[in-house]
Assembly symmetry: C2
Homo-oligomer: 234 residues x 2
DNA sequence: CTGTGGTCTATGGTATACCACATGTCGAGG
DNA sequence: CCTCGACATGTGGTATACCATAGACCACAG
């Protein structure tokens, strides 16, 4: 008989990390009256675990930049400042543009074909229709390029930045008809990849992402803070 | 009178993290007979702290990719594979080339002048003379570019990659007269920055770093592992 | 000699108790 | 009424005890 090994890797620390991370991402941390305070003992009770594994999870979350632990003060979910968000977009542009360069050189024809197929499903007409759905497709598009680079590190680093911006992306997508523009940009990127033009692919991806940078900087500057992300599709 | 606030942030967790990190970086982890095993209780005893803060430090180190914690098996310092090192170089190139682009656009004249001054101190003649010293200057050169980008995130992400490669860099520097070539590359980069040519600066930095990538791939492929980093200057 | 199963020990995982500091409260003293 | 300090309480920080499993070791049956 054949048996799969019992998963023995599951530790409370990891479970707790996942739960908390998901919960934090779900929070509307930019609401004015959001409760950014976390209480170790309370969390431990809710999760039904002791503080030890909980604290180890919190340590990870802190390093990820999701929370800040202030000794004898409390644990707080961090609000990214506008500057920090802009820097994340820059770093993201750096990583993904390099990924595009590599993809243009190394991606298989099948991968590029799959990318075009994916993009085709979400053409201009439908983009504006359902922003929520398009937002998902948009994320997938970028993930595919990261994957096509063949460099897992680029992908994982970009992913780490991505999660910090999911609220940002939702919001920005709804502003200034960016979705339609996005579709056009994507097509250009695909064509550059098909042409195996690494320089062009890199530039297009960088410009595409930096347009988000410019948009966010212009649109949100002078706002005291980012408030009410509110579902973009709503 | 003026007084600096007492540093109250110093927690054992952070101290332990620093110590362990330094100790790991100091290790010759690629020695065949290196002891990659860490023992929680032993470490706690050596550091004179309990296991609790120690484990929190280990959690951080694990996420940083320095160690691997296997439940009921042990804590192990991880050896980076050649592929992982190559991917780190790629990511590094992505970040620093973007930094160069930004620096060309935003750096002050004073900063660029300082960069040239720094590079001048380590001209070709001296480069080959004392590799160890030049290696330090080389690191500083790259850090300066990261700083000149004005994007702290780029700098910190690159720094995170850097520390994983300090042994790699030392070794590669000594091979194939790379130090001299490095000096030439640096001068070209400086000139591009002085000319405020963002495209050129980006390309030169990327090419410079990717030359390291090519070198490492060629020189170390087919080696079963990286062995004996041995001081490059020796 | 061999292999099978029990047992012993090392190790990370978890729970819990206690500590030190930060902060809010309240009352004495002015 | 205001000030200031003692005290109560809440919070994260640390130490320690105990648990469950992995793996080595050993005794014994064949």
């Amino acid at each position: 008989m054949k048996l799969q090994p019992i998963a023995t890797n599951f530790t409370l620390k990891d479970h707790v990390y996942d739960r908390l991370r998901a919960a934090i991402l779900e929070m509307n941390i930019y609401d004015e009256d959001a409760d950014l305070r976390l209480d170790e003992r309370s969390l431990a009770e809710q999760l039904q675990v002791s503080r030890t594994p909980l604290r180890e999870a919190l340590t990870r979350l802190e390093q990820d930049g999701f929370i800040e632990i202030r000794a004898r003060k409390g644990v707080f979910v961090v609000r990214k400042t506008l500057d920090e968000i802009l820097e994340m977009i820059v770093a993201w542009a750096a990583l993904e543009s390099m990924a595009a360069r590599l993809a243009a050189e190394a991606a298989s024809e099948a991968q590029i074909k799959a990318l075009r197929k994916h993009a085709a499903k979400h053409s201009e007409s439908s983009a504006a229709a359902d922003l929520s759905e398009y937002s998902e497709a948009n994320i997938r598009f970028h993930q595919m390029i990261l994957e096509m680079s063949g460099c897992g590190l680029l992908a994982s680093m970009a992913e780490g930045l991505f999660v910090h911006m999911h609220a940002v992306r939702r919001r920005a997508m709804a502003e200034g008809d960016r979705a339609s523009r996005s579709v056009v940009d994507h097509m250009g990127i695909i064509e550059a990849l098909e042409a195996r033009d690494a320089d062009l692919a890199e530039r297009l991806v960088r410009d595409h992402t930096m347009r988000l940078h410019t948009h966010v900087r212009r649109a949100w500057t002078a706002l005291e803070g980012i408030q009410g992300t509110g579902e973009a599709a709503g």
